[in-house]
Subunit: 222 residues, 2 copies
Amino acid sequence: MPYTYDYPHPAVTTDIVIFTIRQDELKVLLIKRALPPFQGEWALPGGFVNLDESLEAGARRELEEETGVKDVYLEQLYTFGAPDRDPRERVITVAYYALIPSDKIELRAASDAEGVSWFGLQELPALAFDHAEILQAAHARLAAKLDYSTIAFQFMPKAFTLSELQQVYELILRGPVDKRNFRKRILGLNLIEDTGETRKTGAHRPAKLYRAVDPHRVDVIK
Amino acid sequence: MPYTYDYPHPAVTTDIVIFTIRQDELKVLLIKRALPPFQGEWALPGGFVNLDESLEAGARRELEEETGVKDVYLEQLYTFGAPDRDPRERVITVAYYALIPSDKIELRAASDAEGVSWFGLQELPALAFDHAEILQAAHARLAAKLDYSTIAFQFMPKAFTLSELQQVYELILRGPVDKRNFRKRILGLNLIEDTGETRKTGAHRPAKLYRAVDPHRVDVIK
DNA sequence: GCAAAAGTGTTCCAGATACACCCATGT
DNA sequence: ACATGGGTGTATCTGGAACACTTTTGC
């Protein structure tokens, strides 16, 4: 107990809403809590911020611990600090959200690998703390950003078809998208390019494969 | 001074970018620091979060201490937490921004009233900590929100003319706005209504006065 | 030859933009 | 009568929305 201050300090954590697309669903990663409070309930991955790391570094550390991925899209979402959101002590959490391309998921067999799982947004369990509110805010931000940025590309593997990209939009926006208008709009951005390759999947015409011109970049459009 | 913890805790503050329109300029409120660090330099108003108040409540408390105003628009902006942003200890700040109608400014003669002043965005002094970065982020958010929300109404007194409202847009966006298109668009929203009154100011036709239908509400438009 | 997903253009409509003159008032 | 800011309408452009058929492949 060697940490003493002249006035009370809250604890500060980062929590991360980790999205990916899998099995034709938008999914989030949740962790089953091994300890009280909310023991046995599902919660967002997160943890305390080390005093010598930035908030984003703390979030990336948690992200890598749980998923093994680095260098993915990560954005600060909002800071939640209701006085009673944690029954133990005052805990302020800086929430982030991350987007993981569908080919990168490799759920690290970490410490408590057993209690880690992907959930579709439709089939969420009850969540600990105020994590349901955080998750909903993250989904709202993500859906809003689809309309005015190229954030959806962050879900895509290196090479992808336009139909796959369209499906990402449809999953997040929860509704159908017109194929011809979609292609016109996306190709008109000049932010993806034809790889020259195609992909054959089953009894139909092969699809052209595209790649993002600048895969890490998220542009504001419109 | 007996506040001890099992592991290190950062300090958490709220800082507020308080905007108003005054003398045909978009201005922010700054405070001259009386104590080190950055003694004598200008900084955003802010302070430590009490353990029993929410983040927003803390921000509103600081806001009211400095300006005397309540019930104005206040929105969380972003949380800044670089490890070395304060030389004393690790301090994470949850930044907010507030918009004050031009008739409400009554700069409370508070403790250190002498060291409090409004600055136009063009004539900013050097700022303490990372406050220049915070201020710039707040201005960017504000300008972006003008385009897709009715946030500008938050700067207006109870009754105002369309020319005054247009001027607010021009000041924040730093550029001229077409008068006829502006009036068409604003009136088309049906969010402001004619009061029936007019205001005479000088040697020209009197202007109609309008009021916001729902002054506290900020709508997303377009 | 048939099933299944890929690929491709045109028309229409709504909302944004550009633009110039008359009105009510004070001096 | 003139200077000052208030108030008004139309033509054009542009980007989004609606919409159906042909192509390539595997079986």
